[in-house]
Structure formats: C-alpha cells, structure tokens
C-alpha cells in the first residue's frame, strides 16, 4: 500500500496572501517607474529658487512657467523638434518598406538560396564592424553632416525583417496559391492580400521604430556636427551636459563665472526640456500600448 503524502500550500494561486504580495510588488514597481517622471514635472513647474534646492517632493513649490516660456521662444528647440519628427516619420516609412520587401521573398519556398540568404542576414545581426568602420562608411558615402545619415542607416533592421517574415509565414500558403489561380501576380498578392492581413506586425514595427528614433542622439552626435539638422534628444543632452560641468575645474575666474551663471539659468530649464521632449511619446503611448505588448509575442517563430 503506497502512502500518499500531501502537502498543503500556504500560498496558493488565488489566495489572499499571494494577491496582497503581488499587488504590493506592482505598486512598488509603479512608484519607482512613475515617480521620477512626476518629480521632474513638479520641479519644472515650481519656483526657480525651490527647483535649485531640489526639495520638491509631492506638489510644486510655488508655480512658475518661466522655463517653459523660455523654451517655447527658443527657435533652436523647435527646429530640433521638427528634425526629430522628420527623422521618425521618414525612418518609419522606409523601415516598413524595407522589412516588407525583404521579408516577402524569403517566405517563398521556391526562392533559390533562401537558406543561404537567411544565414547571411543573421550574421550582421550579432556582429557589426564597430563605430569606426561605420563612421568611415558614412563619410565615404557623403553622408557626414547630412540629415540622411540619421535616416538611411536606421531604415532597416534584420530583427524586424525576421519579425515580418515570421508573421508572413503564419499566413496560410493556400491563400497565395488561391490568389495565383485567380490570376494575381506577385505584387498583387503582396499588396492586396499579405499587407492588409499584416497590419498588426506593421503597427508593431512602426511603434518600435518611432520610439527608437525619437530617443536616439548618439548617431547625431557623431555624424551631425552642426545644429541645423540635430534632433531633439541631442539638444536635451546639450542642456543637461552643460549643467553637470564642474565650475571648480576652470582655471580662470572669468570662465568659472560664465559657467556658474549659465548653470543657474539652466537649472530649471533642463526639467522643462525633459517634459517637453517626452510629451509626444507620453500622449501617444496609451493608444499604442497594445502593440508594444503584441510585439513581445509576435517575435516567436512559427516554423
């Protein structure tokens, strides 16, 4: 006769203890995630003197929109905003086009060398030449100090091609065959059958690309030495970097004074700048949240 040992779980699924623990963790994570942004917001709205002390924790101390007023009058900031919107839109359109046009032929089993091309695409996904070869390539292509250096290198992604390919592979092959029987050519199959069915993955790619381009600044720092075509995040970085330079490092009192005065006038502006540059993403995120979540699962390969 076998003995059955049963253990009773003190914390089991659906139990009150588990629920309370999970909710506590979620609240803590929400607080840690949301509070820094809220802190920056209330600092940007407080009186400048209170903002310099940084002792503003729950509600703004005083109320001042001076830093926002200075910001909206800054033509350079608006130019940077426009540049970022231009880069985000054009890169997204090109990204969708390159991903779709690269992924579609790879789903055709009749493509010669398909396995070789798949492997060929995977290698640069893991390895790249590094910054210096990339810089030399961009300059030799004549893209240095050119806004196209922000668009062209970012307008394709092997990972996104694989995502789209995986999605296309999930569409039944019989649909393609049926369309062929009905007399559709390759382009008609792609544009009139595959694309309309692929809106979810295209939305995912658009969302990830827009957020990625919106936040990028490093390529601009390397390839755009003049402010005319620089994006918003590089402008923000400029404001923040100026405020972290130490006055004590200056060997001349006149230069120390200049930086100290600049830091005093920039002290609150950096917070306003952070809010300003994040506003579009904050405003649009609720509408695209489901696509972020979908993007995590859509990456799983189905063949």
């Amino acid at each position: 006769m076998t003995k059955t040992i049963t253990k009773s779980n003190k914390i089991s699924e659906g139990s009150r203890v588990a629920t309370i623990l999970i909710y506590c963790c979620i609240v803590a994570i929400c607080f840690v995630t949301i509070y820094p942004m809220y802190y920056v917001l209330i600092l940007s709205l407080s009186e400048p003197a209170a903002a310099m002390t940084m002792k503003v924790y729950t509600i703004p101390k005083g109320f001042s929109l001076d830093s926002y007023k200075v910001l909206v009058k800054d033509a350079e900031m608006w130019r940077a905003y426009l540049n970022t919107i231009l880069y985000a839109l054009s890169t997204t359109v090109l990204m969708v086009l390159t991903c779709v046009f690269a992924a579609y032929p790879l789903t055709s089993k009749k493509l010669r060398g398909r396995k070789f091309i798949n492997t060929f695409l995977l290698i640069p996904m893991y390895f790249s030449g590094g910054m210096i070869p990339s810089f030399l390539l961009i300059t030799q292509l004549g893209l240095y100090d050119n806004p196209l250096s922000m668009i062209l290198p970012s307008c394709f992604s092997i990972w996104n091609i694989i995502l789209v390919k995986a999605f296309f592979s999930g569409i039944p092959e019989t649909l393609r065959e049926a369309a062929k029987i009905d007399g559709a050519n390759t382009y008609q199959i792609l544009f009139q059958i595959y694309l309309p069915m692929s809106m979810p993955i295209i939305a995912v790619i658009c969302v990830y690309t827009i957020v990625g381009v919106w936040n990028s600044w490093f390529n601009a720092m390397i390839y755009l030495p003049h402010t005319t075509w620089q994006p918003l995040q590089l402008y923000l970085r400029r404001v923040l970097v100026e405020n972290t330079r130490s006055v004590a490092q200056f060997l001349d009192p006149a230069e120390a004074k200049m930086l100290a005065l600049k830091q005093m006038s920039n002290a609150q502006m950096q917070y306003a700048m952070i809010i300003f540059s994040t506003l579009p993403i904050l405003a649009t995120y609720p509408f695209f949240q489901k696509y972020f979540v979908k993007g995590v699962t859509l990456g799983s390969l189905k063949e």
């Binding site: 003197a49 310099m52 002390t53 940084m54 002792k55 001076d66 200075v70 210096i132 810089f135 030399l136 390539l137 300059t139 030799q140 292509l141 240095y144 100090d145 720092m221 390397i222 030495p225 003049h226 402010t227 620089q230 590089l234 970085r237 400029r238 970097v241 100026e242 006055v247 004590a248 060997l251 001349d252 009192p253 006149a254 230069e255 120390a256 004074k257 200049m258 100290a260 005065l261 600049k262 830091q263 005093m264 006038s265 920039n266």
Partner: protein, 550 residues
C-alpha cells in the same frame, strides 16, 4: 532557359544590389567636409583662412547667445572683426561646432583627415598632439611667425607678453606647434594673478556677533557656533563648509604649507615636490578629521543644493568670485550673503600659503594648431599679427567705443543694453576668444578693475580682503601644471600610465583619511604604495619639465 521579363528584372536588381555594396570602397578623400577649391584661394583679393573651432555660448539674462548668432544676426562686433581682418588681407571661413560636441568632432576629424587651416585642439590630449606633430600634420607656429610676421606677433612672442608662453609650448626640437590662451593681468603695474582662498560667511559672523577667526581653534569654534546658534535660521544644525576632500586644493591645506596638486613647484626653491612629503600634511588631515567628527564638513555631492538652501558656511573659491552669493536663497529680512577670505596661520613654523594664479598665465587647456592643410603661411602669420595687436585686444575685451563701452578721461566703462556688449561682458571677453576659434590674449587685464566689479556686486568686504591677497608674499601655484613645459612623448606616456592609478589612489586615500576610514598609523605603507605607483617618478618627470621651462 526562358528569358522572360521577370528573370531579366530579377537579374538586373541582383547586379545592382551587389554593385551598391562597392560604392563605399572609393579611394578618394575620406574627408567628410572636403572643400571643392583650394584651401586658401584668394577671393576679392582676400585670402580665406578656414578655421574649425567650438561655438561658445553665454547666458544673457534668460537667453543663450552663441558666437554663431553673431555671424547670422549681423553683429556689429563680428562686422568690425571682419573689416579689421580685411585690412590684413584675410577673410574667415568658419566651421563652428557646438561646444559639447567639439571633442567628438575633433576626434572624428582626426580619423578622417583634417580639413582646415587653423583648428582649436583643446579637447585633444598631449600624446595625440605629439603624434600629429610626428605625422607632419601640424606646422611649427614659431617658424611661421619668425618668417612671415610683419611685426606684432614676432614682437609679442619674442620679447613681449607671449615670450614665456612660446617657451612653455616648445618641444625638444625647439619648435612650438600650438598657440595657447595667455592671461597677463596686473596690479599696480606688476603681473599678478587672482588668488584662491578659504572664505567664511561674513553675514553670519555679523549676525552672531563673532569676530573673524584668527587661529584654527577660533575657526573650529566659529563653525561650531554657526551650527549651535543656527546661523541660517532653519532650525537645524546643518551649517557646513564646502571644500574638496579628495584633493589638497581646499585652501585650508595651504595654511599647512601644502601645494594644491599631487605634484607642484615650490616657488622659493624651484623644486617639484608632493604634498604627501610635506612636514605638516598629517596635521592638516588631523584638523580635517576634527571638522568631520563635529559634523562641519559637507560630505555629500549636493553642494549646489546646499548652497541654494543657505547651508554653506565657508567655501574654497576664487577670492574675487561673485557668482555663489546670488545662488543662495535667503530667508526674508536676512542680510545679503557674503563670503569673505580668511588666512590663518595653522602651524608655528610655516607661513600660511594661498593659491595664486601666475601673473602671466599660460592656459594650455585651450590650444590652437596650424594644420598641414594651410597652404598659405603668410596669411596665418598676418592673422596672428592681428590677434597680437592692441586693436584686437581692445575689440575682444571692450568691444566698440560708444557702442559697448565709453571712455572719459582715460577711464572706460561698459555700456549695457547693447546685445553684443551684454553677450561679450557676460562672457568676460568677445565670444570668438571665449574658448572659441581664437586664442585669448588678455594682456593688461586689471585686477583693480575686477575688484571694483566685486564691490559693485555688493561684496565690498570680500573685495577689500581679496585686494590684500594680491600682494601676499606666500603663495603656491593655483594651477601647478601650467608651470611645466610640454612633455616629450616618452614623458607623456609615462605620465599617462602613472597618473591614472596614482591620482585615484591619492584622492581616495586623502578622503578616507579625513573621514577616518583609514588610519594615520599606516602612513609609511601609504607612502610606499604611492612610490610603487610612481609618485617619485612623476616628481622627477615634472622637475625635468619645469627645468626646461626656465
């Protein structure tokens, strides 16, 4: 094989795709900003000089003004500069890079090839510059001046205020490959730098009826009294002093006869030494430990916040500084804040030192080279002639008469309200020389005028004591590195390999000793560690550099 339209199109696209991967493999110039014409081609009879440099900015009220704004907004200052240069037969072609990006752009330009005649290379380290010299990418500026200068530059750098700078910037081959910013300020006709001192809150001393401390014990008791009697009136004993703990540049260290950096020159003997070898270094650390134990030291990284919160009772700073007091939020009815310098004799057999800028200061953090792309050295010499002229000096420091300054009976006063003047005076000098495209030659800067400005800012007590420090006899270099000649390649390689670890060890050790996280009883082992890390070798390298500079 059937050759239908689809196959032909697919073949053409495949060939195009493969061919496009070779487009970047050209053997042509990799230079990202290659000009189409000759680098200094004459135009309208003027020779163009291409200059690459940072685009400095300054704050005027709530707005930022950049040098590039002068170019685009029809600045009278820039118009005057270009018309002056036209008289010398020169026209400028400027490539201005935002200041925060300039270091990155310098390095990428080096990777792809220089494409300018004159370039600001402050962000580049000495080893990189020496490599550029070895590669023939930099022309010797002293030879250009000797051969082509028609007067001002030759006089300035041979017998004038710039002679010491040319000597300090010379390499072992006797040539100087870069120009640096020069400040020659005078006080009563004598070259005098500005001092740095320990400064205490005079308004708190007045509020609590305390005298200016004259000894270390009095200083300690005064700082304690600030806390116990709540000098800032916020109800908490939070009044602290803000001095660096990780370096000897605290101005308190100087009272014990210590220099400001890991190695420095003792002016009286001309010998390079280290504060770690000085007889009273332990007493300094013990005094700082006493301050720390009493909770009188600012040990967080929140100096700016504490300044704004009116919690700082003393600082180590330039004696004539005027920018800390306005940042303090005072309670209603409080007397205006004022930090006033104080010098205390800390030990019986040592006169207290103060950190002092050299009267003739060579600021080698701002360097300018003539590249091998400059095909017209005569034009470069003419430009340097203009930069060394009184005309340029006046334009850079004062601007345009009756526009940015007025002169009555030989006395000049600034005119505010003019945008060019406001930008210039908030930067202390014209924007092209404020760590910009031209080296700054501040010759004839008057310390008396500077101190008048301190008084005008409502800091009369500070100005009075600061003026006394200008003639103080016992000083140590405020910037020890400015006394040393350019290192050779071997020296700079050794310096780079030594200073990384040694500087970290020295600053951590000093901080831990002050905070009593390490004991003074293991002193010998600390010195032996620093020797192992190369302190003695660094001292001998810097001694050799100092000897060459004389």
């Amino acid at each position: 094989m059937k050759f239908n339209r689809k196959t032909i199109l697919a073949s053409i696209l495949s060939v195009l795709m493969v061919a496009s991967s070779f487009t970047a493999c050209s053997s042509g110039s990799t230079n990202p900003t290659a000009s189409t014409g000759s680098s200094t081609a004459s135009s309208e009879g003027l020779t163009t000089i291409r200059i690459m440099g940072p685009d400095p900015t300054t704050s005027v009220g709530n707005t930022e003004v950049a040098f590039s704004d002068w170019l685009t907004n029809g600045s009278k200052m820039y118009e005057r500069l270009t018309s002056d240069l036209a008289k010398y037969g020169i026209k400028l072609d400027l490539n201005l890079i935002p200041y925060d990006q300039y270091a990155t752009v310098c390095q990428t330009q080096l990777a792809t090839g220089l494409d300018c005649d004159l370039m600001a290379v402050g962000p580049l380290d000495t080893l990189t510059l020496l490599n550029l010299v070895d590669q023939g990418k930099v022309q010797p500026i002293n030879q250009i001046i000797d051969k082509y200068s028609t007067g001002s530059a030759k006089k300035f750098y041979t017998n004038g205020a710039g002679a010491f700078s040319m000597k300090l910037n010379s390499l072992k081959d006797g040539n100087a490959y870069w120009l640096t910013t020069i400040t020659v300020a005078d006080y009563n006709g004598k070259p005098t730098g500005m001092s740095m001192t320990f400064q205490i809150r005079q308004d708190w001393l007045d509020k609590l009826g305390l005298p200016m401390p004259k000894s270390l014990d009095e200083l300690y008791n005064t700082l304690l009294a600030f806390q116990k009697q709540d000098a800032n009136g916020d109800g908490a004993p939070d009044e602290v002093i803000s001095v660096p703990l990780d370096s000897f540049g605290s101005d308190i260290a100087q009272w014990f006869g210590l220099g400001a950096d890991t190695t420095y020159v003792v002016d009286e003997t001309g010998k390079v030494t280290s504060p770690w070898y000085q007889p009273h270094v332990k007493e300094y650390i013990q005094f700082m430990q006493k301050l720390n134990k009493a909770g009188l030291l600012e040990t967080s990284t929140q100096k700016s916040q504490k300044t704004a919160e009116n919690k700082i009772s003393a600082v180590a700073n330039w004696s004539g500084e005027t920018w800390v007091e306005p940042a303090i939020n005072l309670p209603a009815g409080a007397k205006p804040a004022e930090f006033v310098p104080v010098i205390i004799k800390a030990v019986a057999d040592q006169e207290p030192l103060i950190r002092m800028q050299r009267g003739s200061q060579n600021n080698d953090s701002q360097k300018y080279i003539v590249t091998n792309e400059a095909k017209n050295p005569e034009a470069i010499a003419k430009l340097v002639d203009y930069l060394c002229s009184d005309e340029f000096n006046m334009l850079s420091q004062w601007g345009i008469k009756d526009l940015t300054y007025k002169e009555e009976n030989g006395v000049r006063t600034k005119i505010s309200g003019n945008p060019d003047g406001d930008a210039m005076f908030s930067a202390a000098v014209a924007l092209w020389s404020s760590d910009g495209i031209f080296p700054r030659y501040e010759v004839g800067r008057s310390r008396s005028e500077e101190l008048k400005a301190v008084t005008a800012a409502g800091l009369a007590a500070k100005a009075k004591v600061a003026e006394q420090t200008l003639t103080y006899a016992h000083t140590t270099p405020q910037n020890p590195a400015s006394d040393f000649a350019v290192p050779t390649k071997d020296e700079v390689t050794r310096i780079n390999s030594i200073t990384t670890d040694l500087s970290t060890y020295s600053s951590e050790l000093l901080t831990k000793l002050i905070l009593e996280q390490k004991s003074l009883n293991d002193w010998d082992s600390y010195l032996s560690d620093m020797n192992r890390l190369g302190l003695n070798e660094l001292i001998s390298i810097n001694q050799a550099r100092y000897d060459r500079s004389k």
